[in-house]
């Protein structure tokens, strides 16, 4: 019965980001969400538990305000959550996130399998999973679209450019999953109520064995500008004609 850790990140929902007038990001009306592919990671952990038994811990690192994310994650099936939290964990870069996770996992948690999303919705650097595996010194199979537990090993179908690479690795191991792997459940009212009763282990910066300094510095974050005409037509025949004429004028109808 495997002990599984599913990692997740509570992120800004990019759909609410607007471009400011001078190219800055307007974050005034943003909302937060459980990073898209981390839902697949948690779902896969819950699915394996349903099939093989064991336990699932949802693990995250972030600022103390991210408690809503814990409840969201716990409503998707994990038994308990572990929250590594500090006000300074606002904009961690991937090497820091991976190092902090490895510190806590290596010293405090029992595990056979770690599941991460292939990348987070905000930075989508796709580094944390592989870095975490390497730091813990365990095998890593990334970009997995199908996962099977086979005794003491995992068999993973990995999605690569030319097709599928079926790879086996002994546990403990880490996988990162692509969204094709499953359809994450939509938590119901009961799941949300149960979630609030589940245990949350909180770990602070003082519990870590080192201060992990960044290796990558963000110099700037600006809106990706796209200047377009934004001319609108209706479905009326005269407008359809005008639309086609506009395309002809652009020289794109040949």
């Amino acid at each position: 019965m495997p002990n599984i850790i599913a990692c997740f990140k509570w992120v800004i929902d990019e759909a609410y980001i607007r471009a400011g007038s001078s190219g800055e990001l307007d974050m005034r009306s943003v909302n937060y969400k459980l990073s898209d592919y981390d839902r697949n990671a948690i779902e896969e952990a819950a699915r394996i538990k349903e099939e093989h038994g064991g336990t699932v811990i949802a693990l995250t690192v972030g600022i103390p305000g991210g408690t809503k994310g814990l409840k969201d994650a716990l409503s998707r099936g994990p038994d308990k959550a572990c929250f590594i939290s500090d006000p300074s964990f606002e904009n961690l870069e991937p090497s820091q996130t991976a190092a902090i996770l490895a510190d806590v996992i290596g010293r405090k948690l029992d595990y056979d399998l770690i599941i991460c999303g292939e990348g987070s919705s905000d930075l989508y650097a796709r580094q944390v999973g592989p870095r975490l595996a390497e730091t813990l010194g365990i095998p890593c199979i990334s970009f997995v679209q199908k996962l099977t537990i086979d005794g003491n090993r995992i068999i993973a179908e990995r999605k690569v450019e030319e097709g599928i690479e079926v790879t086996a690795a002994p546990m403990p191991a880490l996988v990162t999953v692509v969204p094709d792997i499953n359809n994450p459940r939509i938590p119901g009212v009961k799941d949300t109520l149960t979630a609030s009763k589940k245990e949350v282990i909180t770990i602070t910066k003082d519990d870590l064995s080192s201060a992990y300094e960044p290796t990558l510095r963000t110099v700037s974050m600006t809106a990706a500008s796209m200047e377009r005409n934004c001319v609108k037509f209706t479905a009326e025949p005269s407008d359809i004609t005008a639309f086609i004429e506009a395309l002809a004028k652009e020289g794109v109808l040949r």
């Binding site: 650097a125 796709r126 580094q127 079926v166 790879t167 990558l216 609108k232 639309f243 395309l247 109808l253």
Partner: protein, 318 residues
């Protein structure tokens, strides 16, 4: 020793990275070194593309994954201390780059789409997309080596120069790795590559039934273009192969004309059509975000609009 290092899975990608790699090497007044995987035939080509040194990685056993090379590469990097390490952002490349960066305790810019050298401060600044493509994040690596993964196709291959000299060195064979490849299954169907298509008509969530894709195809045919789709059509409904899925996690297209039919226009999708010359949208929801990213939009039900468009296009081309 130092230098700009390059790791890619094939010669085409290596030539692309040598283009930006040689440029950086001359600015940093150093040399370029390229890894070559189990193929001694291309060493001379690589040197002609601009590599000063070739590090040959002996071929892997059939069941060894590419990441078996990680310890060999780490050992070389710890000895030679490169300044910069560029890796082609393929699936395996991204994985290997992150793991190398962890071992070398350094920073990595993932999916770097542009590099500038700030001579005054002696810093490489690297651009990448964030927030689904809504933002450009400029980063600088504060540790050695400066690492980046660069998507294939970002740079044109370096021109071949005849008469270039370079050294070739064979590295040690990789040790057996804990992971083994049990099977490699090639893709079942070959799908037409639309990344270079001149006209792309894209099917979005507004398409209600699989049969209705014929309507999309008919417009594409009338225009002399190809059909593409958004994520819900390929990944959720499985109506079209994922090779046609346009967006941040799919393909990027740069046609003269893009028409999105029932495409809402999530930022991840729009990122994949950013380089289109003319963007058009047909959607019954006048607040669909794609209208904000389009040159021309038609607010209307695609089931009403598309037949009219097909007719009008045929007439215009007649």
């Amino acid at each position: 020793m130092a230098g700009v290092w390059i790791f890619a899975e094939n010669l085409q990608q290596t030539a692309e990275l040598l283009s930006i790699g040689s440029d950086l090497a001359s600015k940093l007044m150093t040399t370029t070194s390229a890894f070559l995987i189990g193929n001694t035939d291309s060493a001379d080509d690589c040197i002609a593309f601009g590599a000063d040194e070739i590090m040959e990685l002996p071929a892997l056993a059939g069941d060894q994954p590419l990441d078996a090379y990680i310890p060999v590469i780490v050992a070389e990097a710890q000895t030679a201390d490169p300044d910069v390490f560029l890796i082609a952002a393929t699936v395996r490349g991204k994985d290997i780059a992150a793991r190398l960066a962890a071992r070398l305790k350094t920073g990595l810019c993932s999916d770097c789409i542009g590099v500038t050298f700030d001579e005054g401060n002696n810093v490489l600044e690297m651009d990448r997309l964030a927030y689904g493509g809504a933002a450009i994040q400029k980063v600088a690596c504060m540790t050695r080596p400066v690492m980046a993964t660069i998507p294939p196709g970002t740079y044109k291959p370096a021109p071949q120069q005849s008469g270039r000299q370079g050294t070739i060195r064979e590295l040690q064979a990789p040790q057996p790795s804990p992971s083994t490849v049990l099977e490699r299954r090639p893709k079942e169907t070959q799908v037409k590559d639309i990344t270079e298509s001149r006209i792309v008509v894209c099917a979005g969530r507004g398409i209600e039934r699989k049969e209705d894709l014929s309507l999309v195809q008919e417009l594409a045919t009338a225009l002399g273009g190809e059909i593409g789709c958004t994520r819900p059509i390929s990944e959720e409904a499985h109506w079209l192969p994922e090779e046609l899925c346009i967006g941040l996690s799919g393909i990027s297209v740069k046609p003269d004309l893009y028409i999105g039919l029932g495409v809402s226009g999530q930022v991840q999708h729009v990122t994949g059509i950013r380089d289109a010359k003319v963007i058009c949208a047909v959607n019954k929801d006048e607040n669909a975000p794609l209208f904000g990213a389009a040159d021309y939009g038609i607010v209307g039900d695609l089931y009403d609009v598309v037949p009219k468009l097909i007719e009008a296009v045929k007439k215009a081309k007649a």
